[in-house]
Amino acid sequence: MTTFLGMPHAPRGVGQLRGDEPFPAAADKALADRQLRRNLGHATATIRDKRARAVAEVADWEQLRLAGEAIKAATMARLGEHLIELEAAVTARGGHVHWARDAVEANRIVTDLVRATGATEVVKVKSMATQEIGLNEALESAGITAVETDLAELIVQLGHDKPSHILVPAIHRNRTEIRDIFLRHMPGVDPDLTDDPRRLAMAARAHLRAKFLTARVAISGANFAVAETGTVTVVESEGNGRMCLTLPDTLITVMGIEKVVPAWTDLEVFLQLLPRSSTGERMNPYTSTWTGVTPGDGPQEFHLVLLDNGRTAVLADEAGRSALHCIRCSACLNVCPVYERTGGHAYGSVYPGPIGAILSPQLTGIEDNASLPYASSLCGACYDVCPVRIDIPSILVHLRGEHVDARAQRALPSPEALAMAAAAWTMAGPRRFRLGERLLRLGRLLARGGRIRRLPPPLSAWTAARDLPEPPAQTFRQWWRTRPGDGRR
C-alpha cells in the first residue's frame, strides 16, 4: 500500500535509454572503425538520395509537413482525453488496455500476459517501444524466447548486437558481415550461403516461416492508434509484421502514449509523410490496421499496453515537448553529418541521431544523457527533412541550457562554466572587450610562420587536427580608428 502525498510526479524513462559512456568517447571508437564508416556512408547516402527524390515528387510537401505538425501539436494539447477515448474504443471492440508508468511496469505486464497463455516463444514485429523498454531481455529472464522477425532486427538479434538505426537497425553491417552472422548463428542454414542479397533474404525467410507457423503469441509496437475508432496501425516493408499480426492467437501491442491520433482521417497525412521520409518510397508495402478483435479472423485476444516511460515529463516542457511529435521515420539520422560518421551505437540510447539527442535526455532527465544535446554541430539538416517539422536544433540548444542550469546548482562551477562566465563578462563591456582583444594578440607569440600549430588544453582539441591563424597585428577596430574622420564614430 502506498500513501499519496500531494501531486504525482511524472515517471522518468528507464530501459535502454542510457549509454555506458558519454557520446564523445563512444564516438571516437566508432570513428576509428573504418569498415563501419564505409558501411554508414554508403547506406545513409543511398537512403538520403532516395528520400530526396520521393519528396520532390509531392507538390504540396510543405503543406503536408505543416498539417503533420499541426495535428501532432493539437493532439499533445489534449493527450489525456485522446488516450481515454482510445481506451474506451479498444475496450468496446473486445481489446484490453493496460497503462504502464515505465519500462519496468510495461515489461511486467507483457511478461504476465505471455505467461498466462502458457507460450514460451513469441514472435515480434519490429518496434522501437519494445526496444526502449528492453522487452526481449525481460522476457528472456522469465524463460520466454522473443524472436525478431524483421530482417534487420533478426540480423541484430542473431549477431548478439544492438540496433544502430531506427528504421534500418543493422545499417552498420554490410552483406558479407550479414552472411557471416547467418552462417554462425542461424540454425540449419545452408553452409554454402553467399552474400547475394536474394540468397540472404531467402535464408531468413525459411528460418522465419517456421516461427510464424508455430507462434501462439505476437508482440508489436504501433505507428499510430486512432482514438475515435480504436484502430491500431503498423507500417512495414517486408510482410513479416502482417504474419505476426494475423497468425497467432494472442497479440500484445506496446505503444508510447504519444502515438495516438484523434481521427481516422489524420492517417491520410501521416501515411503520406512517413514512407517518403523513411524509406524514400511513395507507399510502404504493408499497412496493417486492426480494431480490437474480430471473431474468427486474426488474433482472438488483443492487449494494448500504453507506455509513459518519461513521456509525460517531456510533455511538461513547452520548449522541448515537440520531440514527442516524432513518427520514427529516421530521415534526420540519414542526413545528420554526425550520425553518418559515428553510427547509432555512440548515442547509447535505442534512439540515435538528432531525434535521439533530443528525445533520450528528455525521457531520462538531462543529467543521465548530458552529452547528447552537444552531439551536433547545429547544422540544421535534420529540421529541414523532418516530416512533422520538429525544430531539433532549437531543442538541442534548449537542452544545453537546461544542462548548464542544472550544473549551476552544484557547489563548484566547472572550468567551462568559469571560462564562459569570464568570456561573457569580458564581452559585455566594450572597454573590457578591447582589453581582451589586446590579450588575444599575445597569441602571436605562439605562432610560427603565420600559424599556431599547438595549444594547451582545452584548445588542444582544436590543434589536434587544425592549425589556427596567427592573431592579426591590428584588430578591425584599430584599423577603423586609423581611417581619417572615423575615429569617433
Binding site: P24, V397, G429, L440
Partner: protein, 246 residues
C-alpha cells in the same frame, strides 16, 4: 544609405580583413558605413553552449549598441542567424519581455552581407574583379537558418575573371559548430576531413564562404595538410578589383 557594420567579434579580433572588405565593398557601392565602437559579441557561443543567463547580457548589450541604426550588416550568416532567430528567444526565456521585443525589432533590420546586397540594395554585379579558380562553401546557418539560397553564388558569378567551380556535397556541414569542434573534436575532424576532400577535388585556388568561423575551420584543416588552397571570406572576393590584391 547609412549602414552600421556589425563586424562580429571573430572578424574584429581574428579576421579583420573580412570586415575591412565589407567596408570597402559597401563604400564602393556608394554607401556610408559606420562602425558602432561599443559593439562586442552577439552572444552566439554562449547561447549555443547553454549559457543563457550570460547570453542575455550580451543580447542586451548588442541591442543597446545597434538599436539606433536603420540598417545593420554583418559578414556572417551565423551571427545574423543568432540575432534573427535566437536573441528574442533568449530574452523571453529569462522573462525579459521588453528586451525580447526590442531584439525582435532589431532582427528585422539586421542583414547578412549577401542578403543585404541582393535583397536590400538590389545589386548582383558589385564591380569585382578576381581572376582565380574559386569554390564556394555555403555555411549551414546562412543556408538553413537565413535561407540565403543562391544569393552568394549570384554575386560570385557576376565577378569578372572568376573561375567558379561547384563544390561537391556543398551543403554538408564542415564540422565547426562552435564549441562542438572542441567537445566532439573527433567527429568534427572527421566531418572536416570529408569537406577538405571535396574542396581539394575542385582544384580551386580559393575556398570562400560567408562566415569567418567556418573558414577558420576549413582553412585550419587545409593549413595542417600544407595545402595551397587559400580560405577567403566572400566579402574579400567581392571587394577585389583590378587594383587590389586580397
Amino acid at each position: 544609405m547609412r549602414v552600421a557594420l556589425f563586424a562580429t567579434c571573430l572578424a574584429d579580433a581574428m579576421f579583420p580583413q573580412a570586415a575591412q572588405a565589407t567596408v570597402t565593398l559597401l563604400e564602393r557601392l556608394g554607401h556610408d558605413v559606420v562602425f558602432p565602437d561599443a559593439q562586442t559579441c552577439c552572444g552566439q557561443m554562449h547561447i549555443n553552449t547553454g549559457y543563457r543567463r550570460q547570453a542575455r547580457n550580451l543580447v542586451r548589450h548588442h541591442t543597446d549598441v545597434f538599436e539606433p541604426y536603420d540598417a545593420i550588416v554583418a559578414p556572417s550568416g551565423s551571427c545574423v542567424g543568432s540575432v534573427r532567430h535566437q536573441h528574442a528567444v533568449i530574452a523571453r526565456g529569462v522573462g525579459d519581455e521588453r528586451l525580447a521585443d526590442r531584439a525582435a525589432q532589431l532582427a528585422t533590420r539586421t542583414w547578412e552581407l549577401s542578403e543585404f546586397l541582393i535583397d536590400v540594395l538590389g545589386v548582383e554585379d558589385v564591380g569585382a574583379y578576381f581572376p582565380h579558380r574559386v569554390t564556394y562553401h555555403p555555411t549551414c546557418h546562412s543556408l538553413r537558418m537565413l535561407r540565403v539560397g543562391d544569393k552568394p553564388l549570384r554575386l560570385l558569378r557576376a565577378v569578372r575573371g572568376i573561375d567558379l567551380v561547384e563544390l561537391p556535397a556543398a551543403d554538408q556541414c564542415c564540422g565547426f559548430g562552435g564549441t562542438f569542434a572542441l567537445k566532439n573534436a573527433g567527429t568534427s575532424a572527421a566531418m572536416l576531413a570529408d569537406k577538405m576532400g571535396h574542396v581539394l577535388a575542385t582544384d580551386a585556388e580559393v575556398v570562400t564562404a560567408g562566415d569567418a568561423s567556418c573558414l577558420m575551420h576549413i582553412g585550419g584543416g587545409l593549413s595542417r595538410l600544407e595545402s595551397a588552397v587559400r580560405p577567403l571570406h566572400l566579402a574579400e572576393v567581392l571587394a577585389a578589383t583590378d587594383g587590389s590584391r586580397p
